[in-house]
Symmetry: C2
C-alpha cells in the first residue's frame, strides 16, 4: 500500500524497470538513517544515470511527489529519512569513478561512489580527497557533499565544500544544471556548486561531482599530549593553530572522555590526565621531522602532563587506542546518546567545554566532549536513557541549551553533520530572520514546488 | 545636472551629510575603473557605517535608483562603472580593521580596508590573508571579495572565496543579512557567504567581512626555471602540482613574454629560452630546504634549459626582474591591451597557449601569455592599436575566440578578475541556459527591483 498516484507509478516503473521498488520490505531498507528516525518512503528508485534522475524528478514534480536523495544513510540528523513519504532515490547504482586526472589534481565521480573506494583508487596516483568522516568506508561522496562532511583531516585540508570544483545536478524544478569547472580558481558568475554543498538534497540532486584532490603525503607521525585540564589543552590548541605548521589532525578529548577511555576502555593514561590532544603531522621524510618538532614545541607549555611521540605506525595505533576506546566506553554511561557537532571559534573551546559541564550539572546528565579541536568543532555527547521519559525530556532541553551556548560563543549549530530534522527548529537561533528568508527564497528558485527533501534543513 | 528624484536627493543628503556628493567634478572620480570604461554616477555616497548603507539602499530601492558598490576601482572588467547612473557607493570611509584574532586565525574588517594595510597589520601577529592581487597596495578587501580576487599565492593558499568565513551585507531588497560564522567549518544552512564572493555587488553590499587568516611563513625561496618550449614548461607545472610540496607561487611566461622581457625589458635570459617558470616555496628554516629540493626535483626533466635558485631576498628580486620587466615591455608591442584571465585545467595549459598562438596568427595581432600556472589561470594579453578601427575589431574578435577556446578546454572565462561588463556577453558560452536562469532567479531574490549594479555579470 502506498500513496503514490497510479499514473506516476506506471510512468516510473516503465522508466526504471527493476530499479523501481514498491515492496514494503524493500522500502523499509530506505526508511531510516543513523539518526534512528524512520519513515517509510512510498517507493524506492535506484537510477543508473543522470537522464533517469532527470526524468524521475520531472515526473515527481508533475505529481507533486516528494523526492529524497540518499547515499548510504550514515548521517546522524535524519536528513535522509523520507518524513513526507514520496520516492527515496538511492544512488547506490551510480557508483562509478569516471575520471582520475592527476595532472589536474581532480577526479570526476558519480554520487554513489563510497568515500573509501575513491580513496583506495586515488592512492595508486599518490592523491587523496580530504574529507574523511569516521564512516568513510561505507558513506558516499554524494552524502558527504550533501552535509558538507569533514573529519579530522579538515583542519589542514578543509571539508567537502572546500574540495569541490564542479557539480552537475538536477534541480527540484527538473533542470540539469552544471556549476563550476574543473579548475582551482573561478570567477565566472555565482558560485552555485558551493551553495549545493551542505544543502542536504533540498535544492538539487547531485549526479556528478568534480572533486579537488591533494597529493598524498607519504608519511605521518602522531603525538599524544596530555594536559592537566581542559583550559591548558585549549590554550595549546590556540598555540598550535597560530604557528606556521598546520597539523594534519588535532583531536581533543575532555576530562570525562579521558576518564572513560582509561577506566572503562582500558587505555593507558595517567591518573592526573585532565584533557588530551592527538596531534598529527604529515609530509615526507625530508620535511616531517621539522614539522613534528614545531608541533611538539607548540604543544608544550603550562599544564602539559606528558607528551608521547609515535615513531612508527604501530606506536601510532597504540596512541590512538585511547580515542578508539572512547566510543564503546560511552555506552556504559547510558544506553542513549545525542551526538551533536557544534562549532565555535577555536579560542572559545574552553568556554564551550566549561559551559557544557555546567549544563551537565544543571540537567543531571553526563555530557562528554571530544572532536576536531583545530576547527573548534566538538562532538558533544549527551548520554541518557531513552526509556526514561524524564531523562529524554532533560536531554532534549540540555541539547537546546548547548546549541544556544555555541551560538552565543560566536559559533554555530553544526560543523560537519548538517541540520536535517535534528536541528532545524534551532535554525532561527543561529541565523537571523532576513537571512533565513533569503535561504527560503533561494530554495523556492531551485525547487519551486517544494518536492526535494521536504521538512529538512529550513525550519517550519 | 543629474537624473535623481529630488525627494531621494533630499533624503540622502540629510542621511549622509557631507558624505553625499553630487558635484560633477567629484562624481567624475567615481565614473571609471581600470577597464578604462567610464560612466558618470548621478551621485556619490561615502557611508561610514552599515546603518547608513542600509538606509541608503532602502531609499534607493523605494525610488528604483541603481546602487553601484565600489572599492578603489582597480578591477579590469568595468564592474565598478555605473553604466546605468544612480548612486556610486564608495567604501573608502569604512576602512577600519575591527578585530584581529590570532587564536581564531581570523580578522573582522570593513570593506574599505586596503588589502596592503590589512597585510601590514597582520604581519605583527605572524599572519596574512592569502589573496595578493598585483594591486594589493591600493585595492580594497571589499573589491577583492566582489571579484573573488586571487594572485600568485592562490596556488597554495586559495583565492578570496576560499578565505572568507562570514559576511554581513545589505541585500538589494534592503535587508541586513549575516552569513556564516567565525569558524573554519560550518554546515548550518545554505552557504550564502561564498555565494556573495564573486557576485560583483549584484546581490548585496558587503559591510563587514570575517576573513580566514593563515600563519605567515617566516621565509621564502625562489627558483627560476627556463625551458626549451611551452610544452616542457607545462609538463613541469603538472609534475610540480602532482607532488606533495605545493609551491607558494608558480608563475609562467610564454616564449613571447620571455623574448619581450629579454630583448625589450633587458632581463638576463638565455637566447634559447622558450618558456619560464618562477617557482617559490615558503616555510621556516627547518622545512624550507627540503621543500625547495622537492620543487627543484619536480621542475627538472626534459626541456629544462637552466635552473637558478635565489639564496636570499636580493637574488630573489633579481630572478623576479624578468617578470617585472614584462608589463612595461608589453607596451612596446602596441599602445592598447586587452588583458583577460581565462582559466583551464592545468593539463590543458599547452593547448591553451598553442591555441592562442594560432589565434594570434589568424588575427595578425601579438598575444602574450603569462600568469598563475599552478591554477591554470593565464593572463592572455592581446596587443592592438585602439586608434585603428580594424585592429580594434580584430582584437575583439580574437578575444571572443580565446574565451571559446578556454571553455572548449574545460576551463572558464575568468579565474580572478570576474565578468563585469567585459565578459558578460560571453557568459552563455561558459554557462548553460538552465544554470544561467537559476543565477538570474537568485539575483531576483537578493535584489527584487534590480537596483544593484545593473548591467553587470549576467548577460542581457
Amino acid at each position: 500500500m502506498n500513496a503514490l498516484p497510479p499514473v506516476l507509478e506506471t510512468e516510473l516503473a516503465e522508466l526504471l524497470g527493476d530499479a523501481w521498488r514498491t515492496d514494503p520490505a524493500e522500502r523499509l531498507t530506505y526508511a531510516y538513517d543513523n539518526s534512528r528516525r524512520e519513515a517509510l518512503p512510498d517507493a524506492v528508485a535506484l537510477p543508473t544515470d543522470a537522464a533517469q534522475v532527470l526524468a524521475l524528478v520531472r515526473t515527481c514534480r508533475r505529481h507533486r511527489v516528494p523526492v529524497v536523495a540518499r547515499g548510504r544513510g550514515t548521517n546522524t540528523t535524519g536528513a535522509a529519512v523520507p518524513v513526507a513519504g514520496g520516492v527515496a532515490v538511492s544512488f547506490e547504482r551510480m557508483n562509478r569513478i569516471l575520471q582520475i586526472r592527476p595532472g589536474d589534481r581532480c577526479a570526476v565521480v558519480e554520487p554513489g561512489v563510497l568515500n573509501g573506494d575513491l580513496q583506495a583508487a586515488l592512492r595508486a596516483h599518490g592523491l587523496f580527497w580530504p574529507p574523511d568522516p569516521t564512516s568513510a568506508g561505507y558513506c558516499t561522496i554524494g552524502g558527504n557533499l550533501a552535509c558538507n562532511a569533514g573529519g579530522p583531516r579538515a583542519v589542514k585540508y578543509g571539508a567537502s565544500r572546500d574540495n569541490v570544483l564542479a557539480l552537475t545536478a538536477v534541480s527540484g524544478g527538473g533542470e540539469l544544471i552544471r556549476c563550476g569547472s574543473a579548475t582551482t580558481k573561478g570567477s565566472t558568475g555565482y558560485d552555485l556548486q558551493r551553495l549545493l554543498v551542505g544543502s542536504e538534497g533540498t535544492l538539487a540532486l547531485i549526479v556528478e561531482a568534480t572533486l579537488r584532490l591533494v597529493p598524498l603525503p607519504p608519511e605521518r607521525r602522531a603525538v599524544r599530549a596530555i594536559y592537566r585540564d581542559v583550559a591548558s589543552a585549549a590554550q595549546a590548541v590556540a598555540r598550535l593553530m597560530a604557528q606556521p605548521v598546520t597539523p594534519s589532525m588535532l583531536e581533543f578529548m575532555d576530562h570525562h572522555a579521558v576518564r572513560l577511555a582509561r577506566d572503562v576502555g582500558g587505555a593507558r593514561l595517567p591518573a592526573d590526565a585532565g584533557a588530551l590532544l592527538m596531534i598529527e603531522a604529515d609530509g615526507d621524510a625530508d620535511t616531517l621531522p621539522a614539522a613534528l618538532a614545531a608541533l611538539i614545541r607548540a604543544a608544550g607549555g603550562d599544564g602539559l602532563v606528558s607528551l608521547d611521540a609515535a615513531e612508527d605506525e604501530t606506536a601510532r595505533a597504540a596512541l590512538w587506542a585511547a580515542r578508539k576506546a572512547l566510543s564503546p566506553a560511552l555506552r556504559t554511561l547510558a544506553p542513549g546518546k545525542i551526538n551533536e557537532d557544534v562549532v565555535v571559534p577555536v579560542s572559545r573551546i574552553p568556554d564551550l567545554v566549561e559551559g557544557v559541564q555546567r549544563l551537565a550539572d544543571e540537567f543531571a546528565l553526563p555530557i562528554v566532549c571530544f572532536g576536531h579541536a583545530g576547527n573548534g568543532n566538538l562532538h558533544v555527547n549527551l548520554m541518557y536513557d531513552p526509556a526514561d521519559d524524564d531523562q529524554r525530556a532533560r536531554a532534549q532541553a540540555a541539547m537546546a541549551r548547548v546549541f544556544a551556548l555555541a551560538v552565543a560563543l560566536g559559533g554555530t549549530l553544526s560543523g560537519e553533520h548538517g541540520i536535517g530534522l535534528a536541528k532545524r527548529e534551532f535554525m532561527p537561533q543561529a541565523i537571523d530572520a532576513p537571512t533565513l528568508a533569503l535561504m527560503r527564497a533561494i530554495k523556492a528558485q531551485f525547487d519551486p514546488d517544494g518536492i526535494l527533501n521536504p521538512g529538512k534543513l529550513l525550519p517550519p
